[in-house]
Symmetry: C3
Subunit: 213 residues, 3 copies
């Protein structure tokens, strides 16, 4: 009982940190592209909630996270406006490096929880893993599409979606071994998180492909 | 009774004018990007119906407007082909200025009706207002994405979505005060419309944001 | 009985060939844009399954093709990785010309089957034809949007969606004449296929449109 509560609190804390990290990634890209405040809020919202929303549309699940917990929309709105006001006064440079940690946490947690959700709906294994990847990665993809960029998840040759993919399979393996749900979620998230950090540390690059066109 | 009929006719007239204005905005951008006739029709259709369709997907509502009223698809198709043929013969320059009025009418009406629809489905207030903004604004967003541009609603620093956002809250305020539905719709649409026109007249600009990147 | 089986086998064979052709079109564009292997797989998947998935979202149909037949996801994944490995070793140039045939087959078959599906759901004629076009064309549209290009289906001035549009109406005409379903499907697909090949042979161009902007 106590342990399950502890897992819940941990998951909630990581989720909040990761959602904010995703939102900040949207704000930064919007600022780089010189969007106006509306664009900053929309792109931050897409980055934070876009992946889970697309997953829910594909799985035909309702209500969306941001409908069931509409308070998060207020948090996002206030955070965006606050950040814009604050950054106008103080010149803070939010480096990509500072965001790697929460972003990798989100990658791990959202892919594991997305995979778990899809399994509960009786999806085939490969589809469930794919739903996990979509949950974790497609917020950033929508962010980049709206900002008129090729999605960095598909083009920067650093393992990102691949880590979520491996973590999804880890979750299915742990479920197969009858590991309790909460623990399996955390372990699978840790696999993705660890892989992502390791890839960043070693500057691992996915092989390129040149067709000579 | 008579009054309610009058409101219905007014709403229908404004809706038709606004849908056409949105379609024309799609045609103009498609022409600027030198799309072929298929592209012109598709982008016009996205601009006209894309926002409402996305709202209905998010709210899980069926049938879509253009399925229940499929005649509108014919109107759009004939209008696009007619306009292309006509503009080949006569050199008419449809200025942005000429389209400001019907576009602002559409912004007002569609955001108010989108908010109202979402409230009827029991959405939280902030979600309902967001649905109104999506209804009014995301047709243009999809138009710009297909045309490979950063959506002007997020980047031109002129209040557009913001006006729809305020109008949505106005609608909720009027509903709270038990103003009859038809009247509340028109008043909220007028708030958005008035704000938008005022912003255009005064050349009001949303503050920029520079992170130094 | 035998005849119906023969039709089924033919349809299945053409579908497989066409899905692979669409996937290859995605791989080639991803390679041209120097995406990483993740991007290659995602864009290939979007090109292959994106049109049918969007149609199913619009028609509110579940499960998607790639959920009901999840094996296809494995086929796609293995094919993409295999192709990338193979093309690294041997320098094969997959010309657009070599892909015209299976692509035109897919255009014909997917537009006819998409139209048929929508008719079964009781859609109005124009909506059903539009759903056929979306099934056949929007995989390529999503592919181009993710690759940050204006969709070629809307901009290359060669008849593509138009052929699918005509084929959709041919299907409705054949159904009206009480032609059996399987035969009507093949004939309508043949109309689209023939039109597309004829347009390629004669280098037919859709008229341009210049607004002087």
């Amino acid at each position: 009982m106590l342990q399950s509560n502890l897992v819940d609190v941990m998951v909630l804390t990581v989720e909040a940190a990761a959602t904010l990290a995703f939102a900040v990634s949207g704000m930064l890209e919007a600022a780089r592209k010189r969007l106006d405040p509306v664009g900053v809020c929309v792109v931050a919202g897409l980055a934070a909630f876009g992946g889970g929303t697309l997953r829910d549309i594909l799985l035909d699940r309702r209500p969306f996270f941001w409908v069931a917990h509409a308070t998060w929309l207020w948090v996002l709105l206030v955070a965006c406006i606050g950040a814009m006001a604050w950054l106008k006064v103080r010149h803070v440079v939010l480096t990509h490096r500072a965001m790697q940690w929460p972003d990798a946490l989100g990658l791990g947690l959202f892919s594991a929880s997305g995979t778990q959700l899809a399994m509960l709906q009786g999806m085939p294994a490969i589809v469930a893993v794919l739903m996990g990847v979509i949950t974790a990665v497609f917020g950033g993809v929508l962010r980049d599409i709206v900002c008129n960029e090729i999605p960095s998840a598909f083009a920067d040759h650093k393992p990102y979606a691949v880590c979520a993919f491996v973590g999804g399979w880890a979750l299915l393996g742990l479920q197969y071994l009858h590991v309790p749900d909460g623990l399996a979620l955390l372990l699978a998230a840790a696999v993705t998180f660890g892989l992502r950090l390791w890839a960043m540390q070693t500057n691992f690059h996915l092989p390129g492909w040149d067709t000579g066109h």
